[in-house]
C-alpha cells in the first residue's frame, strides 16, 4: 500500500473524522501543542544559549544539560503525542502540506543534531564544561539547534496558509 493510500485510509477511519469534526477535543489538543512549545523549545533554547556562552556562563554546561533536559524531554513527548493527534485529524491534508513536510524535515535534523552532539563533542564535555564560552564546534551545535527550532516553529505556524498560497 502506498503512503498516499495509507494516509487516505487513515483519514477515513471513524476516530479521525470524529477528531476532525470535534467540538472541543481538536482545539484542546491544538492549544496544548502550541503552548507546550514554551516548555520544549523554551528549555532547549536555554540549553542552546548555554552552548553558545550566552547564558548561565558560570554554571557547568553538564549541569545545565542535566537539570533542564528532563523538561525538554517531557515537552518533546507532549509535542509528539499532540502532534500525532493533529496529524491524525486530517492525515491527507497534513501529508500534502508543504509546510508540514518542511517542519518534519527540520524536526528530523534537530533530533539528528542532538544525537550527533551527544555521541561526539558532548562525550568530551569535561574538557570545556567550565568554560563560559564553549569551543566553536559546540557553539555551532547550539546555533544550528536554535535555527532548526525557529524553522520548526515557522513551518508549523505557516501550515495554516497552505490552502491560501499553494491551493
Amino acid at each position: 500500500m502506498s503512503l498516499l493510500r495509507f494516509v487516505e485510509w487513515l483519514g477515513n477511519t471513524s476516530w479521525s473524522i470524529e477528531l476532525h469534526e470535534s467540538r472541543y477535543v481538536f482545539l484542546l489538543v491544538l492549544m496544548i501543542h502550541v503552548l507546550t512549545l514554551s516548555v520544549f523549545v523554551g528549555t532547549a533554547a536555554m540549553i542552546d544559549l548555554r552552548l553558545l556562552g550566552k547564558t548561565m556562563i558560570r554554571v557547568p554546561v553538564s549541569q545545565v544539560v542535566a537539570r533542564l533536559v528532563p523538561w525538554t524531554e517531557i515537552g518533546f513527548v507532549v509535542m509528539v503525542v499532540t502532534g500525532t493527534l493533529l496529524f491524525y485529524a486530517a492525515p491527507l491534508n497534513r501529508y500534502e502540506n508543504v509546510f508540514f513536510r518542511v517542519k518534519m524535515g527540520a524536526l528530523a535534523l534537530a533530533v539528528l543534531n542532538v544525537w550527533w552532539f551527544r555521541r561526539t563533542a558532548y562525550r568530551r564535555v569535561h574538557e570545556w564544561d567550565l568554560d563560559p564560552v564553549p569551543p566553536r564546534r559546540v557553539r555551532l551545535v547550539g546555533a544550528l539547534s536554535l535555527i532548526l527550532l525557529a524553522l520548526i516553529i515557522t513551518a508549523g505556524r505557516m501550515m495554516a496558509y497552505q490552502d491560501y498560497w499553494f491551493g
Binding site: 476532525h20 469534526e21 470535534s22 467540538r23 472541543y24 481538536f26 482545539l27 491544538l30 533554547a45 542552546d48 553558545l52 485529524a89 486530517a90 508543504v98 518542511v102 547550539g142 546555533a143 536554535l146 535555527i147 532548526l148 527550532l149 525557529a150 524553522l151 515557522t154 513551518a155 505557516m158 495554516a160 496558509y161 490552502d163 491560501y164 498560497w165 499553494f166 491551493g167
Partner: protein, 142 residues
C-alpha cells in the same frame, strides 16, 4: 551583534519561504480576504465541512449567463457554528441559502463568511476571521 540567533533563524526561514512563494503567487488564494470585496451569494448547498480549525460551506451559484460556479466559504471552528445553531444536518445538500462575506484577494470563488441566511430570513453567524463574523457591528457595517 546583540541580535539573537533566533532572529537569524527567522530570517533564514523567511528567506526560504519567500523564495518558494513567487512561483505560486498567481495561483494562490493570496492568504487573505479583501475587505473591499463584499460578496452576496445565493445558491444551493453542495457540501458542508464542519471541521477544525475552519469549517467550509460550498454552494453552487448560478450566474447571470446561466453558468454555475461552486463557491467555498470559510467559517470558524465547529464549536462556533454549533453554538450558533448550524449542525451537520442543518444544511442538507440542495438547500437554497444566502451567504454574505468577503472574497479572497486572488479573485477565486472562495471567501470568508460573515453569516448564512436562510430563505426565511434567519441569519446565523459563521464565527471566523471575517469582520462581523462574531455578530458584532464592524466599521464597515451599520
Amino acid at each position: 551583534m546583540r541580535m539573537t540567533v533566533k532572529l537569524l533563524g527567522v530570517i533564514v526561514a523567511l528567506g526560504l519561504l519567500l523564495v518558494a512563494m513567487p512561483a505560486r503567487a498567481h495561483h494562490s488564494f493570496a492568504a487573505a480576504f479583501d475587505e473591499n470585496k463584499a460578496i452576496n451569494l445565493q445558491g444551493t448547498v453542495t457540501k458542508v465541512e464542519l471541521v477544525n480549525p475552519h469549517a467550509w460551506i460550498w454552494i453552487d451559484v448560478k450566474g447571470q449567463d446561466g453558468t454555475v460556479t461552486n463557491w467555498g466559504i470559510e467559517g470558524g471552528p465547529p464549536t462556533n457554528l454549533l453554538r450558533n445553531g448550524i449542525t451537520k444536518t442543518s444544511l442538507p445538500i440542495g438547500t437554497e441559502i444566502k451567504l454574505f462575506g468577503y472574497q479572497a484577494k486572488s479573485g477565486e470563488p472562495k471567501g470568508v463568511g460573515v453569516f448564512v441566511e436562510y430563505l426565511d430570513g434567519r441569519k446565523v453567524f459563521m464565527g471566523g476571521s471575517a469582520p462581523g463574523a462574531d455578530g458584532n457591528p464592524t466599521p464597515t457595517s451599520k
